[in-house]
Subunit: 339 residues, 2 copies
């Protein structure tokens, strides 16, 4: 599979597609290719977009891609679907709307679904982004449907994270939640021509105020702009205040402002060593995640299946407590020999 790296670098789309499939299916041998292409990563600006079904995510992604293309930039779209009985297939259905982008060689669209665990998907997403990055795309748009912990995990692969809302979606069934707002660099209220948009914008701003250590006055003064604010309590630190942007993607409204805001956020990150620190955190989190998965995988590969069943039975029967059961399981641990 390592022989696909050179074709990938010279723009071969079949090599790209095959590598992405290998990443998605955790195919043997893909790791050697990932190792070989890793030095070529770090060029693309990775933008994460998340929002509940019905917020018009795909239209927004399509419009963003069109603006980037008009500037001569190449764009890869990675639609990640953390399949669940609630959301399964939502993203794939939306692909149809992106048809207008097809035929353009500067655009590449790819869907990726959950095979196993959420952790596996987060890992596959990070690796797929690297493949696209090494393939030379200027912008990578990682789109995911907002349905829980998944978008937070997936957002960790992005530099600029955009959270999309829409007014009056299913009455009060909204995907707005604290955890999501904490990862947002930019908030978009799409379908802003619908009734209830003001109340949605207001609600988002209220939640932002709760979540950021700046005064209400600063928040009001700077909302909707890409600014950094120093606060009395944190004089040596500044914040990016996530602006709330109104768009009507189907009409192309607000898209230019959104693109400008993404650029402003990129400028912000590339100043004062911030990008270096962000990437450092992302790498650290990724390594710890991978080490954790690897250790568990190693242990369970040597642990006889009946041993786990046996201790679970004993814990249920109250003849063994959980910690003693854990100690018994850990006894099967083997030393990993580094290669």
């Amino acid at each position: 599979m390592i022989d696909l790296v050179e074709p990938l670098r010279s723009g071969d789309r079949r090599a790209l597609a095959r590598l992405l499939t290998a990443v998605e299916n955790e195919r043997v041998g893909v790791q050697a290719a990932l190792t070989a292409l890793y030095p070529y990563t770090g060029h693309a600006w990775v933008i994460g977009l998340t929002g509940a079904p019905g917020t018009g995510k795909s239209s927004l992604v399509t419009e963003l891609a069109k603006v980037y293309r008009s500037k001569g930039e190449t764009v890869a779209i990675l639609a990640v679907d953390p399949t669940s009985p609630f959301t399964g297939g939502a993203i794939l259905g939306d692909r149809i709307r992106m048809r207008e982008l097809s035929g353009d060689k500067g655009i590449f669209i790819r869907s990726m679904a959950t095979r196993g665990s959420l952790g596996g998907l987060a890992r596959a997403t990070r690796d797929a982004v690297r493949v696209l990055d090494a393939a030379g795309f200027d912008r990578i748009l990682v789109e995911t449907v907002g349905a829980g912990q998944s978008e937070v995990e997936i957002a960790r692969a992005a530099y600029t994270t955009i959270v999309i809302e829409a007014p009056g979606l299913g009455d009060d069934v909204q995907a707005i939640k604290a955890g999501i707002l904490e990862i947002a660099d930019v908030l978009v209220v799409n379908k802003a021509d619908r009734p209830g948009v003001d109340s949605t914008v207001r609600a988002l701003r209220t939640m932002l105020e709760l979540g950021h250590p700046v005064s209400r006055e600063q928040m009001v003064a700077h909302h909707g702009q890409a600014v950094k604010v120093e606060t009395p309590t944190t004089p040596n630190h500044d914040f990016w205040l996530p602006p709330v942007i109104r768009t009507v993607a189907t009409e192309g409204e607000g898209i230019v402002e959104l693109v400008a805001t993404i650029e402003a956020h990129r400028d912000y990150l590339t100043q004062a060593n911030r990008m270096h620190r962000l990437e450092q955190q992302q790498v650290e989190m990724e390594l710890v995640d991978r080490v954790r998965d690897e250790l568990v995988k190693q242990l369970f590969s040597v642990l006889p299946a009946e041993k786990l069943r046996e201790v679970v039975d004993q814990v249920q029967a109250r003849s063994l407590d959980p910690q003693s059961a854990v100690n018994q399981l850990l006894a099967f641990q083997q030393v990993n020999v580094a290669k």
Copy 2:
């Protein structure tokens, strides 16, 4: 600390409080006590309650506790606060409303906050529930504020999980989300005397319909009742359809129905080996979680801090790829000697 187990069993509240503090602070020696008290667990019915701030969770918990007390049952309330800038302190402030329960020896109230990780809190919650269970309480109400992944983790310690909503909370800023509905055995719309209650109930039912493999007709026919439904696609399997119950906790309205529903869910679980299977799953998940944490802790305890920094730097500089970095870190792994 193991000497506290006998007093705990004979109703000594100081021993109980000291053990819970030891669990919360992961005090050395608490494990021996947990091992000693574990055989005495399995008596209490553990009820999880989660909902966003403002849904009236604490009032509802208070009313539930009063009903159980009137039936002569003892009640422990464990209020778990996954502290975050968005939710910090919410639960502790609510404690004041529970004052009317004080003075009753059959009630025990305890708050628990995050010290470190969410994983740590989920673990501490499970252990605290065991301490309360061994202390002989009939009902353990585990209350947590809905703010992300945390309530899902914490719900894993409960047998009956109740998700609480309220109409028109902060316009459309609602904590309703797919992940939460997936863990709900019972849905409560509290503050049901407020405007918008019908739309909240309708929205919840719509989400329930999406999430359960039963027809809309079955869903409509059985909603609000505690029933099991066989479906054509899963003829040998039945489902608990989470009923949606309207309450006005401050007026005591709907509480008797809620208590009856919790009993119905308990009856459902205790039939056809279901409780055994649920507990089996919970034990298995807990063991895997604990093994994972333990393995990572072991590795990082022997890994020199500068080694992690070094590989992160190399990955950032693109001179080392993530998987090779993971292999280098895993080389520090040591064999655990079982005791």
